[in-house]
């Protein structure tokens, strides 16, 4: 008997309408349909979600923490992108 193992799928669940899908873990399944059923059984036993995404783990591309600094650096020196950068007199309303 050849021992059979199923590929890994990452699971994302939306807790309710209006919310983002959020990563919550993974399951092993032979195909997308089975992955969805397993994700439902494992991650939504108490109505934790009303929508599930599954994606085979090997298809996920992630940024690397090693070059995190260089990768995210372009945003670091642009403080003028934040509202708090601007001085508005206190008596100006609705700003």
């Amino acid at each position: 008997m050849v021992d059979q193992y199923l590929p890994l799928w990452e699971v994302f669940v939306r807790s309710k309408r209006g919310m983002d899908h959020k990563h919550c873990g993974s399951v092993h399944a032979a195909d997308a349909e089975q992955a969805l059923q397993y994700a439902r059984d494992v991650y939504t036993r108490r109505s934790e979600g009303n929508s599930i995404w599954v994606v085979e783990a090997k298809h996920i591309v992630a940024s690397q923490p090693d070059d995190q600094e260089a990768f995210f650096e372009p945003a670091d020196d642009k403080v003028y992108r934040h509202a708090t950068f601007y001085d508005v007199p206190a008596d100006v309303k609705h700003m």
């Binding site: 008997m1 199923l6 919550c24 873990g25 089975q34 494992v42 036993r45």
Partner: protein, 321 residues
Amino acid sequence: MTPQDQVVDIDALETEFQERIDAEKKIEPKDWMPEAYRRTLIRQISQHAHSEVVGQLPEGNWITRAPSLRRKAILLAKVQDEAGHGLYLYSAAETLGSSREQMVDDLHAGKAKYSSIFNYPTLSWADIPAIGWLVDGAAIVNQVALCRTSYGPYSRAMIRVCKEESFHARQGFEGMLALARGNEAQKKMCQDAINRYWWPALMMFGPSDADSPNSAQSMKWKIKRFSNDELRQKFVDQTVPQIEYLGMEVPDADCKWNEERGHYDIGEMPWEEFFAVIKGHGPCNHERLQARQKAHDEGNWVREAALAYQKKQADKKQSVA
């Protein structure tokens, strides 16, 4: 880079790693981490996962014989939760580069440990509520502490588990209360289950701090945040009054409130038995592993068929395209 530079590099990385931990920042899967931290976590998380999975067996033993439909539905839901907990934890361990195959194989080969509490048999119905209340109760104390562990995926899995666990402990206490308020035979069953599960539950927290060789490093890495003895004390303090509420006795003549310490004292724990069970000489070690192996083997054709179906569907799609 010369080998010399590499050595310096690792020192710097380790310092940076420890600083991150000291600053209460979580470690995430792709971060650099010392090999020993990775190994410790894989061992701990996979042992924890195995415990959840094997833990289904003693309770599963009573699903068909639960005394009412209500208790049966509750027990079924609880055992399903434990399967879920095992899967959350395997999933967390897999983020460290450990494969499910390897972990499952290690369990079946007897190379991986799981909580020795599950090597005790469930002899009467009272053992089921006793397990929910005492065993899950002890597990909760441990798991609440682990919600703040330094490794992100482990911490998130623990938060998810803790949300579900309080149902386990409460249904257990409710079941014990029904027996404690029942007839003489039921009261006797209730006390008997407490007698058999009290010490094993206390030993779930592991050896005393003095005999726990890996504890200091785990505390430094904030994998562990409280010592075994601190957590055990917490459990004793919360559980003794519950035993009294049931009108039952703590099976320990030395267990009494210590005014000065503000805690309950307990008697000497039967460590010899504990280590014997860990080493595989518990009443059910062999049976538990055999049941797991059997379930895995008998599921093999299902996985094989699912993979064959997937391949057929994929081929079909390809030939259309």
